[in-house]
């Protein structure tokens, strides 16, 4: 597991049935491109988050394939449809095999 990786998500606590809500996510990650060299001229190996997914009650909201051109501390903002109360699952996949997961539940207003 890469050092200091911490996911943050912003989801409203409640929504009306069928409402579209905006979600923001951010994960602290250095997103090393694999194109930089260290002081000794050695290539620093690529180490990025290569995929991010958000699902609501098991249904895919968005599934993102990511390349090294995504900035440090990857940030996404997108909309989800909330047909019922339930739980969002956010998952980030690291090049090193680590998987970071965060869950947020939402109630009907």
């Amino acid at each position: 597991m890469a050092k200091g990786v911490k996911p943050r998500v912003k989801v409203p606590k409640t929504a009306a049935a069928g409402e579209t809500i905006t979600i923001k996510t951010l994960i602290s990650h250095k997103m090393e491109t694999g194109r930089r060299k260290d002081g000794d001229g050695q290539v620093i190996p690529r180490s990025i988050i290569n995929r991010f997914t958000c699902a609501f009650n098991g249904e895919n909201v968005v599934d993102v394939n990511m390349e090294p051109a995504i900035s440090v501390n990857p940030y996404f903002q997108f909309d989800a449809n909330v047909p019922e109360a339930g739980e969002f699952t956010f998952t980030w996949y690291d090049d090193d095999g680590s998987v970071y997961e965060k869950k947020k539940s939402i109630k009907l207003a």
């Binding site: 579209t20 958000c54 249904e59 968005v62 903002q77």
Partner: protein
């Protein structure tokens, strides 16, 4: 130092070639779009790409894509060492087929978004983002 007309033309010609050279190395926008669509012609409507005209720093450039009815949107940066940036696949739970993120741009270049619609057609949009070279800040 005095230049004759001929010398001036020679110098400006050489400068022009030197300016154009880096552009040649950059992947062309139509080619990149065609790679995504598999040669199918992409229409220009139906997709919005929002990016700053001038980015203060190429490290963090905010962009948004929005293509109502798309199943996926691919974002490319034509002038990066590798053009791929991200592919957003929208599921049944999505509230809109849009997404905002922050990307890295190696220099002034075209940012491209290609949407794949549910019926298999494609829409594409592109915008040039100028990446400035700072004095002290950048």
């Amino acid at each position: 130092m005095n230049f004759t007309r001929r010398e001036t033309l020679a110098v400006s010609g050489a400068t022009l070639v030197a300016t154009l050279l880096p552009l040649k190395l950059m992947a062309s926008t139509p080619d990149l779009i065609s790679d995504i669509t598999g040669g199918v012609k992409a229409s220009s409507g139906g997709i919005d790409l929002t990016a700053p005209e001038i980015a203060e720093n190429g490290n963090t450039v905010p962009i948004s894509v929005d293509a109502p009815g798309a199943v996926a949107i691919t974002v490319l940066a034509a002038g990066n060492p590798t053009p791929g940036v991200a592919k957003f696949n929208f599921g049944m739970g999505s509230g809109s087929q849009s997404c905002t993120t922050r990307i890295r741009l190696a220099g002034t270049q075209d940012v491209i978004a290609v949407a794949e619609m549910a019926d298999g057609s494609f829409s594409a949009a592109h915008q040039t983002v100028k990446v400035t070279i700072g004095g002290c800040g950048g």
